[in-house]
């Protein structure tokens, strides 16, 4: 069987944030933050890639750079064969109908001065999808599709609960009928019970609309049930990428192993081997030399090579990539 061509392909994406320069941009630039440092992945149509990492790992910047909400410095992004990063404003605008984003913070992502109806009508007007009664019908249908009563159209964001707001955010992203959604920690700010509802909604929508997801999360538990493939990011780099089943069953990178060991198990009698990482994520302004993970790495075989030679992301099992010198001897 030949794998379908990927809907979304990201190659060697780089985004560095330079400190602001003083004086008309003529002064010395300050230290550079390597937020995203050579990230590559592909997502086949109607599949989900889970992108997991701690705060500061560059996962959010990756998502936003793909949509050109921040302009990446280097790399290549294609969505449905179109090269996103070289498009002019007009073509980019047209492409925005195909790719959308759902944000983490359901409070900050809705304009407090607009009603739900206005928020959903705006994209329809921008892309000349529908106006007048046709737009009203579409808005009602969108609200129903995300599980909200069409009466919510008259509400302002402050009148809604967190889960309702997130549903509005999802409806807004769906309003332009995209093929590809970046879900930037869509449930992290919600109560646990609401998390499950929203995750189920996202899974349903994916089925019905054949959506392709880049699902960004900060722990592996959330993406377990929705992701087909999982990529783990650490300090701007992907350290392991594998089909979800393989990754959860046999992680090859010590960072992935420690993240997995942090996933709570709903069984108090279960034997758990928790690996607690020491220290914090190093500052992305001054990443450690060699393997970026070496200062915190619990691997027993850690040696000088780890401190000097950055490991490449390489295939260590069928479909499984890991960036560790000792990936063949996992923890």
């Amino acid at each position: 069987m030949i794998a379908p061509p990927p809907l979304v392909a990201v190659q060697d994406l780089v985004k560095h944030f330079a400190g602001e320069r003083g004086w008309f941009g003529l002064g010395q630039p300050r230290a550079v933050v390597r937020a995203v440092d050579g990230v590559s992945f592909e997502i086949p149509p109607a599949q989900t890639l889970g992108l997991v990492g701690e705060s500061g790992s560059g996962k959010t910047t990756t998502g936003r750079a793909i949509l050109r909400l921040v302009e990446p410095d280097r790399g290549r992004v294609t969505v449905d064969g179109l090269d996103v990063l070289t498009l002019g404003p007009r073509e980019l605008r047209a492409l925005r109908r195909r790719m959308q984003i759902v944000f983490q913070d359901p409070y900050g992502s809705l304009n407090p001065r607009m009603t739900v109806r206005q928020m959903l009508a705006e994209p329809l007007a921008i892309h000349r999808i529908a106006t007048g009664p046709d737009a009203e019908r579409r808005i009602a249908a969108l609200l129903e599709e995300v599980g909200l009563d069409p009466g919510f159209g008259r509400s302002y964001p402050h009148e809604l609960s967190g889960g309702q707001r997130q549903r509005v955010g999802i409806a807004r992203a769906l309003s332009v009928e995209p093929q590809f959604l970046v879900l930037d920690e869509p449930v992290s700010a919600l109560d646990v019970s609401v998390q499950a509802q929203v995750l189920n909604l996202l899974a349903e929508l994916q089925q019905r609309r054949r959506l392709t997801y880049l699902f960004i999360a900060h722990d592996l538990a959330v993406v377990k049930h929705i992701a087909d493939e999982v990529a783990v990011m650490y300090l701007g780099k992907i350290v392991e990428r594998a089909p979800a089943l393989a990754l959860y069953a046999a992680p090859r990178h010590p960072y992935t192993t420690s993240l997995l060991s942090a996933v709570p198990v709903p069984d108090p009698t279960a034997q758990r081997n928790r690996i607690v990482l020491s220290g914090d994520v190093p500052s992305p302004m001054h990443p450690p030399p060699g393997c970026p993970f070496h200062p915190r790495c619990p691997h027993p075989k850690k040696n000088d090579r780890c401190r000097t030679e950055p490991p490449a992301l390489r295939a260590v099992a069928p479909g499984q990539l890991a960036a560790c010198h000792f990936a063949e001897e996992p923890l």
Binding site: F24, R93, S109, L110, S175
Partner: protein, 308 residues
């Protein structure tokens, strides 16, 4: 002053009271509206403003004379207040009350329009600088620094000296064009923080261009501080106009502005204090009312107090 003028004046007071009552009714529906009226000076301030605006609009009804009319240049100069001339007559034998009523049009109108010019320019410049940042921000903000360092009154005196007499629309533009610097800084600061919010990113992701993002998503959320600074700024503009007019460099005589009314009455302040005092009181009253309303607005609209 005939009976109809008194009726009209009473009507203006009633109308102002009605305005306050209606505004209070509608405001009580929202938390910020209730905060506004919790300010002890908010309602009186609003009343004073509504009263003078009504008088300005209804000037032909409440004023017994034309503002330029010299009633009797020989016998009726510097007359003290009486039933015929409630606020007396000025050195040119014109009815002070009539000039005060018509002068409200000019003084309030200049204040409001010049502030509108200033807020429009300041809003546009501040939004542009804050939204696009980079070299545009740097260039615009250095321009603002220069503008803020410029002594405004001297700049205006230079312009007036160049053109001798200036028309009222030019005066409005002049005050507006020299008064937007502080507003633009305020707007820029608001825009800088708002542009990082996710709903702005969402709008951009949906394909909204910079104009739509600024106009529909950024500025509406920056409206509260802009409104407050405008309300507080109108008072300053009115004082500036009064000062210029008093110096003979603002609204040209014989058109009545409260500033040049003081200038006209000034030489006879010893024998006829009313012709300079009443316009002076009117200015003070309106500026105090504007400040009271502005302060209450600030408390009411302060986003830090707004429930999320």
């Amino acid at each position: 002053m005939n009976i109809w003028n008194w009726v009209a004046l009473g009507g203006a007071a009633v109308a102002a009271l009605l305005v306050v009552a209606v505004v209070r009714r509608r405001a009580s529906a929202s938390a910020s509206g209730r905060r506004f009226f919790r300010h002890p000076t908010a309602a009186p301030g609003l009343f004073v403003l509504a009263f003078f605006v009504t008088v300005a609009v209804a000037a032909p009804l409440v004023a017994p004379y034309k503002p330029y009319q010299q009633i009797d240049i020989v016998h009726l100069q510097n007359r003290s207040p009486s039933t015929r001339n409630v606020l007396g007559t000025d050195p040119f034998s014109r009815d002070v009350w009539s000039r005060l009523a018509y002068g409200a049009r000019i003084s309030l109108g200049i204040g409001a329009l010049a502030m509108l010019v200033a807020v429009t320019i300041g809003g546009a410049v501040g939004a542009t600088a804050g939204y696009f940042r980079g070299w545009m921000d740097a260039a615009l903000m250095r321009l603002v620094d220069v503008g803020l360092a410029m002594p405004r009154i001297f700049a205006m005196l230079v312009v007036v000296a160049l053109w001798d007499h200036i028309a009222v629309p030019v005066l409005v533009l002049l005050i507006g064009l020299t008064g937007w610097f502080a507003t633009s800084r305020l707007v820029r600061a608001e825009v800088l923080s708002l542009r990082e919010r996710d709903f702005v990113a969402a709008a951009r992701a949906l394909g909204a261009g910079p104009g739509r993002v600024i106009g529909r998503h950024v500025l509406p959320n920056a409206a509260a501080p802009i409104i407050v600074s405008a309300a507080l700024g109108i008072g300053n503009v009115m004082l500036l106009e009064a000062g210029l007019s008093f110096l003979g460099m603002g609204v040209p005589s014989p058109a009545p502005s409260w500033g040049n009314m003081i200038a006209d009455g000034w030489p006879k302040i010893a024998v006829a204090p009313w012709s300079a005092t009443f316009p002076g009181l009117a200015i003070s009253l309106v500026v105090m009312a504007l400040n009271a309303v502005g302060d209450a607005l600030r408390d009411a609209l302060d986003p830090r107090k707004e429930a999320v």
